[in-house]
Every structure is written in structure tokens, then in C-alpha cells.
Amino acid sequence: MNQKYLPLIATLVIFVLAYAVCAFQYPNMLSTRVAGNLLTDNAFLGIAAVGMTFVILSGGIDLSIGSVIAFTGIFLAVMLQNTSIHPLAAFVLALAITTAFGAIMGAIIHYLEMPAFIVTLAGMFLARGMAFVISIDSIPIKHPFYATLKTFYYKLPGGGRISLIGGLMLFVFAVGILIAHRTRFGTNVYALGGGAQTSALMGVPVGRTTIMIYGLSGFLAGLSGIVYSLYTSAGYSLATVGVELDAIAAVVIGGTLLTGGAGFVGGTLVGVLIQGLIQTYITFDGSLSSWWTKILIGALLFAFILMQKGILFVSRHRRTHA
């Protein structure tokens, strides 16, 4: 069996096992309602995590996405409250802004040769600051179009429903997998993660790819912001603080190597779902406090990093003895 699939399979096995344990204790967890809600509740995180997967695959990191989500939310809320613009037009505008924002960060990272960490940290401050400047209040969105969008869902047998945003997340993951494995851009991302200098020598357009990666991450963070505003029907500049950490954790748990160059977009979906599952379990249990979520996610993160190290070690060992 191909070794590169090992982390992905391990993640899947853990997810299935964890779900089985949960279902054994609370049979209701098996209902399609819970499954549907798992998708809906984690839709915004999932969409943002797809962008983060590309960034991490290329060997970078994007700390700005939580702030960009909040910025998009408050931007939409204020636009819809103060102007008569149609939500769809506002969506396009928001996506254009966030994509440009990401692309500019990518350009700074490439042309000024600065670490992605500190550039996106500045982006994080800037986006959050812009959100504060727009408004510091939580603004409800009462546009009828939002109500219409919420009525779209696919009914599953058993009463569960895949909402529009849950479906959108699955769609984004599908497109993400296609981009990563079936396009030249995707191949370039993997090559960049393997080593910027090597890929440049192989003829990968490093600058363009870097800008596109962070642009894509910005676009998906904007989309995630739209989804979040649909999910909460409001915009709030203090929302989604620290989502970038959840997204990074999802990517790592999903089996993507943090040094870049190896991993799968599909694994990130499982990583997101595992985090959602932990939260659902804690809600079902009722007596466990919410802080156990953080501790468990931290422990999982550690376990997966260890596993990746182990696999790397074993494969290197084999290669030297082959």
C-alpha cells in the first residue's frame, strides 16, 4: 500500500472509531439529523480550512482567516443595512475584497521575501481592525434574501437535512480536491511545498503561485465569512477569533505535513468533522465542560504530529536499508 495515504487512513479510522464510540453511548448520534447538523455547524470552518490546506501544502501559513471571516460578516451586515444593494452583489464585492487582500499578502511574502507568519499576522491585525472600524456592534441581517437562502436544503431520510451552507462546504471540498490533484496550479502548490528553490529551478512560477495560493485562501475566507453570516444571520467584528488555529488543527489532523509538500484536501474535511464530533459529543454528554474540547483537540494534534514523525522515520529508515 502506498505510504502517503497512511496519515489519511489513520485519520479516517479515528473518525469512524470515534463516531462508533459516540453512537454506542448515544444511539441518537447515528441519526441523519446529527450528521446533517455536523455539516451545517462546521461549514464555515471547513471552507476556510480548504484554503488553509493549500497554504500549508505550499509550506506557508495564513493567520488572517479568522479576522477576514469577521470582516466579511460585518461588511455584509453593514452593506445590507445601510444600502439597498442586493445580497448577491454584496457577496461578490466582499469576495473581491478578501481575494485581493489575500493576493496582496501573497505578493508581500514573495516580493519582500518575508516569512508568511509575520505578514499574515499583520493581515490578521489589519482585517480585524477594519472590521472594528466598520462597526463594533453586532448587527443583525434581516434581508428577505437571507430567509430565502435558509429555506434551501436537501432532506435526508430520517429527518436530517443538508442545508445550503453544509452542501456548499462539501462542494468546496470537492472543487478543492480537483484543484489540488487535477490542475497545474495544484501541482505547483505541492512542488512549492517540497522546496521553493527546487521548484523555481524546475520552472514553477513561484511568485504567481504564491500570490494565487494566498488569494485563494483569502477568497475562501471570504466565502466562509458569507457562510458564517448566513449561519448566524448577523455580523459581529469580534466573531470567529482564533478560527485560524482550528483550521490549522483540522489540516494537521487531516494528515497534511506541516512542512508542506504532502497531504490531502480530503483529509482536512475529516479533520474538521473530528473537531465537530468532539463538540457534538460534549453537547450530548452535558456534564463535560466545554474546555475539554480544547484539551482533546490539543491531544489529537499532538498524536497526529507524532504519527507523522513516526511515518517519516520509518520511511526514511526503509529507504536507507533498501
Binding site: I118, L258, I305
Partner: protein
């Protein structure tokens, strides 16, 4: 004398930036530099900057050393929360002050040891290794406080946060003495050389006989110790441990302070003193925005703008361009030195 001159030249940009910011604040808020002594303590906005900047300044000391080894410590904010929670829990139990302090500082060192173990022995990338504790840390702190905000009344512990010694607030004295002590310890021994060599090339350092794992672990433990001290100050200041908010996002401010201080995130040359000045620059900006009556919403935007400006100045590309333009004058300098 020569080393003092070199330090002065190294710190010049930071001091100019700090002076500029202080001047700007002074222009919009003329009472900024006025100091007064009341009840044997100094009061004034300037003292306020020094006092409020204590946690970031302390964190910046450890962060500088960690960054110099080409690492990063994202967990310091969470470690602050854990240490604060441990101190509060111990104080509530009625432990003597010494035991409380030992427990809190021991916890910080332990957290640092964990991070250092992951980085040096398991060879995990520092960002990710410390991310584990950053994610789990607040959960652990809440476990210690059992989800509540633990308040305490031990006058000794409170003194650390709001007491005064020689007319200066305790936090100021703690960060100043600690920062200078670490800087002197590192600079007056071979430690700084070894740390820089690890940051520049870890493999080569190991091969040339430097005990890389021990030094790396010590660097992260120092960062843990700094986080413990900062956590103690924050907890003592509000007389309670708030697991959710103590030290929240301070790791980013600390990293920012180090970057503002001119230490490269790529490891190698570092200056603790410069990072301390960087921490004061950040705090001066924060206080300045508050004092000037500017809406605090702009705080983050101004911070972002400062980072971008400093990034551009420090960028290797810009540096190359600058050397290109100043090559002539520099060449003359060098020639002059050689003739001497």
C-alpha cells in the same frame, strides 16, 4: 566602550521610533510627560506605559531567545493563563506565598520543558510544537480554575501586581531587572554565540560540538519562565485568575515586540534590549491611542501599519537595494579603515 557604542548603533532605529511615537503622543496629549509623586509612588502616563507593558516585555525576553534559535513560541499566552490559574488556586488553598510562587514558576518551566522536548528531541517544527500547548493550554487553565474566575486576597501576591518599590510599580521593576539580568547573562557568557549559531544552522552547530538539545530546551524553558512571571503579574493585578482572557493574544504582541526590536524571525543575531524597547514601542502606541482620544478601533490598523513599515525596512530585498545605493559611500568607509 566599543561594545557600548555598538549597542547604541544597533538600538538607534528602535530609539528613534520610540522617540517619534512619544513625541506624537505628546503633541496630542501635552500632559504625557508630567510625573507626580503621591503616597511615595510615581504617577504619570510614562510610568503607565512602563507598567502596562510589563507582560509583553517579559514575554519578549524569552521570545527573543527562542526566535534567535530559529524557533517561535506560540504558547506563552496560554502558559500565562495556566500559571496564573495555578498561582490563584494555590493562594486560595491557603499556601504560603513562597510555595505559590514556586508552583507557578515551576509550572511555567514545565510547560517550557514540554515545548523544548517537542522541538529538540522529537524534532517537531516550533510553530506546530507550541501550537499544541496554545490550543490545549487554555483548556488546562480552565481545568485548574474549574471554569470560574478564582479570586484571592493574599496581600503578598497582590503586591507583585500593584505594589511599589522605590516609587516604581513592581511590574516595572520585575521586567527591568529580569530583562537586564538575562541580557547580561547571555551576552557576558558564550551563550549568545551558541544560541545564534543554533539559529543560523542547527545541524552544523550540533556537528561542531554544541549541545543543541540542551540549549534549545533551555531556550523554551526561559520562555516558559517569562510566561510564568507575566502570568503572575497579570493575575496579581486583577486579583484573580481568568483562564479565558489572561494573556490572550499576548504571544502575538511578544513576537511583534521582537520583530520591532529588529531580531529576524529567521533566527541568528538577536538583542534582548532591543526587544524590550520594541515592547515599549508597542505599549506606547496602545497607550497613545487611548490617551489621544482616538477611537480604539483604529488600534489594530495602526499596529498593522507599523508591522508593514518595519517589514519593508527589514526585508532582505530592500536591504540589497539599499546596499546597492549606498555601496559607494560604504566602500569609501572600508577603504579608510583599511588604510588606518
Amino acid at each position: 566602550m566599543d561594545s557600548a557604542k555598538r549597542l547604541g548603533r544597533r538600538l538607534l532605529p528602535q530609539f528613534i521610533a520610540l522617540a517619534l511615537i512619544l513625541m506624537l503622543i505628546w503633541m496630542v496629549f501635552p500632559a504625557f510627560f508630567s510625573l507626580a509623586i503621591q503616597n511615595g509612588r510615581l504617577y504619570g502616563s510614562l510610568i503607565d506605559v512602563l507598567n502596562r507593558g510589563a507582560p509583553v516585555a517579559l514575554l519578549a525576553v524569552g521570545m527573543t531567545v527562542v526566535i534567535a534559535t530559529k524557533g517561535i513560541d506560540l504558547s506563552v499566552g496560554a502558559v500565562m493563563a495556566i500559571c496564573g490559574a495555578v498561582a490563584a488556586a494555590s493562594s486560595v488553598r491557603g499556601d504560603p506565598l513562597v510555595l505559590t510562587l514556586v508552583l507557578a514558576i515551576g509550572t511555567g518551566l514545565l510547560c517550557g520543558l514540554w515545548n523544548g522536548f517537542l522541538v529538540s528531541v522529537l524534532n517537531i517544527q516550533p510553530i506546530i510544537a507550541t501550537l499544541v500547548l496554545m490550543v490545549a493550554g487554555r483548556g488546562i487553565a480552565q481545568l485548574v480554575t474549574e471554569g470560574a474566575i478564582l479570586t484571592f486576597n493574599d496581600p503578598g501576591l497582590i503586591f507583585i501586581g500593584s505594589g511599589a518599590f522605590a516609587a516604581l510599580p513592581m511590574p516595572v521593576i520585575i521586567w527591568f531587572v529580569f530583562g537586564i539580568a538575562v541580557a547580561v547573562l547571555v551576552r557576558r557568557t558564550a551563550l549568545s554565540l551558541l544560541i545564534e549559531s543554533i539559529g543560523i544552522n542547527r545541524r552544523a552547530s550540533t556537528l561542531s560540538g554544541i549541545r543543541t538539545p540542551v540549549l534549545l530546551m533551555a531556550a523554551y524553558m526561559l520562555s516558559g519562565l517569562c510566561a510564568a512571571l507575566a502570568g503572575l503579574i497579570v493575575t496579581a493585578d486583577i486579583r484573580g485568575a481568568d483562564a479565558n482572557n489572561a494573556g490572550l493574544w499576548l504571544e502575538l504582541d511578544a513576537i511583534l515586540a521582537v520583530v520591532v526590536g529588529g531580531t529576524s524571525l529567521l533566527g541568528g543575531r538577536f538583542s534582548i534590549i532591543a526587544s524590550l524597547v520594541g515592547a515599549m514601542i508597542i505599549q506606547a502606541v496602545n497607550t497613545g491611542i487611548l490617551l489621544s482620544g482616538f477611537p480604539p478601533e483604529f488600534n489594530l490598523i495602526i499596529k498593522a501599519a507599523i508591522i508593514v513599515i518595519i517589514l519593508v525596512i527589514q526585508s532582505p530585498k530592500i536591504e540589497t537595494a539599499m546596499t546597492f545605493f549606498t555601496a559607494r559611500t560604504k566602500g569609501v568607509d572600508k577603504a579608510e579603515q583599511q588604510t588606518r
